[in-house]
């Protein structure tokens, strides 16, 4: 009996991991040298490292999104928050003498303030998450342009540059930073009862209320966290191009983040948070992109592939398909019993 439930657990968690593995193996067969790693000046290089490097912003945003979706919410404004925080970083670096750490702190605070705004609209005013975050999604890029004065502000800061493009113990610094954030998040959610409370609120808010869980505060916190993750991604993206592009920074990244959460197997109707698998989902998306680019297929396939994956996963997850499969399995069992 126990074995059976372990099997069930494994089948669900294994699917994204196996997909990632197959994807990497498949690409390696098509693209020679895909798996090759080399060490130059004490830094590791290679396609796999490149995938980790490029997927960092998506993974960070997906991390926040996974928690938000777990509480039955959604955050459409992360792309706009990326633009705002990139703008804050660039403008503070170029026009003030502030220490880069303080600049980073300001950018993160800006992101968290955006999250506080979203969370307040959702939890206090009771506006549906998709509507509440839409407001910032529309206005956010305007705010970012307001900060940058409409220009692409280029900047130079050794510290910010190190976050975006530097190395730490041979690995890209931003990958290490993101890994640390992911690890802390997993620790906080799983080693405190926070994760359970969030899943309870997402799964059944009324039952959670009756056991005395204060869902309002939790929901606000969740959006603040999503804002924090987006802010960090915004700083990394700004560091990447050494500038802030209010129009294009983080464009459509919210969609990639939602896709990563869906690939991880979480239901959009809330109740479960899979952080590790969400990161796997983000890696799958980036591996696909890299695979398409390096295998010589036109880049435009990327969007179509992403769309197909979303549809496929959703159709498989949908109640209608699940019921159909269940009915099939039952009739198969009955047939084999007889």
């Amino acid at each position: 009996m126990r074995f059976k439930s372990i099997m069930r657990l494994e089948a669900r968690t294994l699917a994204p991991i196996v997909s990632l593995f197959l994807l990497i193996v498949g690409t390696a067969l098509v693209v020679p040298g895909f798996l090759k790693l080399s060490i130059v000046d004490g830094h590791i290089y290679g396609s796999l490292i490149d995938i980790l490097h490029r997927s960092t912003p998506t993974a960070l945003i997906a991390l926040g999104m996974a928690v938000v979706i777990g509480t039955k919410g959604i955050d459409l404004s992360v792309g706009a928050i990326i633009a705002i925080c990139g703008a804050v970083t660039a403008v503070l670096t170029t026009s003030t003498e502030l220490h880069p750490l303080i600049v980073l702190g300001c950018a993160l605070l800006a992101g968290m303030a955006c999250g506080l705004w979203n969370g307040t609209l959702v939890a206090v005013f009771g506006i549906q998450p998709i509507v509440a975050t839409l407001i910032l999604m529309v206005a956010g890029r305007g705010i970012a342009q307001m900060i940058t004065g409409g220009q692409i502000v280029t900047f130079h800061s050794d510290f910010i540059d190190a976050i975006g493009n530097g190395f730490f113990m041979g690995l890209p610094a931003r990958v290490v930073l993101a890994a640390v954030i992911v690890a802390i998040t997993i620790l906080v959610l799983r080693k405190t009862a926070l994760g359970m409370f969030l899943e309870a609120v997402g799964g059944n808010s009324e039952a959670s209320r009756l056991v005395g869980i204060d869902s309002k505060l939790l929901i606000i916190m969740v959006y603040v966290f999503s804002g924090f993750c987006a802010a960090l991604a915004g700083v990394i993206i700004a560091a990447d191009i050494r500038g802030a592009d209010a129009n294009n920074a983080g464009l459509w990244l919210e969609l990639d983040a939602i896709l990563a959460v869906v690939i991880a197997g979480a239901s959009l109707s809330g109740g479960r948070i899979y952080l590790g698998l969400t990161i796997v989902g983000a890696l799958i998306i980036q591996t696909l992109t890299t695979a398409i680019l390096t295998s010589g297929l036109p880049a435009q396939y990327n969007l179509i592939v992403k769309a197909s994956i979303i549809l496929l996963v959703l159709l498989l997850q949908s109640k209608v398909t699940q019921n159909f499969i269940k009915a099939r399995v039952q009739s198969f069992r009955r047939a084999s019993d007889a």
Binding site: L136, G142, I143, L268, Y301, K306, L314, L315, T321
Partner: protein, 338 residues
């Protein structure tokens, strides 16, 4: 007879009159009819998109794929006309049928697999943009004598203004939208589904087929917007109309349609889109303000209308015996499947 549901659209009208009145008082040039007819021409594709979006939002859904659809239809037109030498009229018909078909497919997935509209149309957003890239990567001109003829059609009005072909096409599509919403059974069913989907099913409204037709209609209207956009710009570009879905949603909401569904006016979307156009025009007339103020102002208007609607719902639902947010129940499924 005036009742609560007219309040938001009255507010919209007030905002429109105030902004336009401000422009007329402040700038002499604003008083010419040219400003108004330019508004009609420049925002024609947005208004047409917003008319289709109105049906979706009134039914309680959302369509994020419209911007990509506009780009896809444009590129498809260019390919059919310039690439294959098909007459523009036939090309437009083919493009519109394709757009309607894609909309219908999304509707089928939403209605029969019971997947949330926003994620299905999100996949559509990726897919259509990807398809547009597949056809053509660059911006290409659409050359045909018919387009030249169309651009010369001009019905002069008093003052310097006049109605262009696309402005008239837009007005015709708007009129059709208004009539369909208010004078056909389909239109009323859309309101019923958005007002209370379970009651609608119990009253005998064919919920699923209505949903399919709604998304097909939105596909048709965004396809038509694509044709208009192609005539307007005289070219096709796969990256065209990025973010138009947000502008269209904003137009619908500022036009007084409730994002939770059931309440709204197609004509309101026209006003909502024009308000966005006026803000842009005012900023151009002002000269000292920058374009990003448009986004921020639209975001602020969006917030204002969402909060106002929340308040109206709060005060009108007080008489209703129903819980404003009833727990999810599978009632629909049962009613429908028998």
């Amino acid at each position: 007879m005036l009742n609560e549901r007219y309040l938001p659209v009255i507010a919209t009208l007030l905002v429109f009159i105030l902004l336009y009145g401000y422009g007329m008082v402040e700038y002499k040039g604003f008083r010419d009819t040219l400003v108004f007819t330019n508004l009609l021409t420049d925002n024609a594709f947005l208004i047409v998109t917003a008319v289709g979006m109105s049906f979706v939002i009134i039914s309680g859904g959302i369509d994020l794929s419209v911007g990509s659809m506009i780009a896809f239809v444009g590129v498809l037109l260019a390919y059919l006309i310039t690439g294959l030498g098909i007459h523009p009229v036939y090309a437009a018909i083919i493009a519109l049928c394709t757009a309607t078909f894609f909309g219908m497919i999304m509707g089928v997935i939403i209605a029969y697999f019971e997947i949330q509209p926003f994620i299905v149309t999100l996949a559509g957003l990726f897919l259509f943009r990807g398809l547009a890239y597949m056809i053509n990567l660059n911006s290409v001109p659409i050359d045909h004598e018919l387009l030249v003829t169309l651009s010369e059609i001009y019905v002069p009005l008093p003052g310097r203004g006049g109605l262009t072909f696309i402005a008239m096409a837009m007005l015709a599509l708007l009129a059709i939208g208004v009539v369909v919403a208010k004078r056909t059974r389909f239109g009323l069913n859309v309101y019923a589904v958005g007002g209370d989907v379970q009651s609608a099913a119990l009253m005998g409204v064919p919920v699923k087929s209505t949903l399919v037709r709604i998304y097909a209609l939105s596909g048709l209207y965004s396809g038509a917007a694509g044709v208009i956009f192609a005539i307007y710009t005289g070219s096709a570009y796969p990256l065209a109309a990025v973010g138009v879905e947000l502008d269209a949603i904003a137009a619908v909401v500022i036009g007084g349609t409730l994002l939770t569904g059931g309440v709204g006016f197609v004509f309101g979307a026209f006003l909502g889109a024009l308000i966005q156009g006026i803000i842009q025009t005012l900023i151009i007339f002002d000269g000292s303000l920058n374009s990003w103020w448009t986004k921020v102002a639209i975001g602020a208007l969006l917030l204002m209308f969402i909060l106002m609607q929340k308040a109206i719902v709060h005060f009108t639902r007080r008489y209703s015996g129903k819980n404003p947010e009833p727990p999810e129940q599978p009632a629909l499924e049962k009613v429908e499947s028998t």
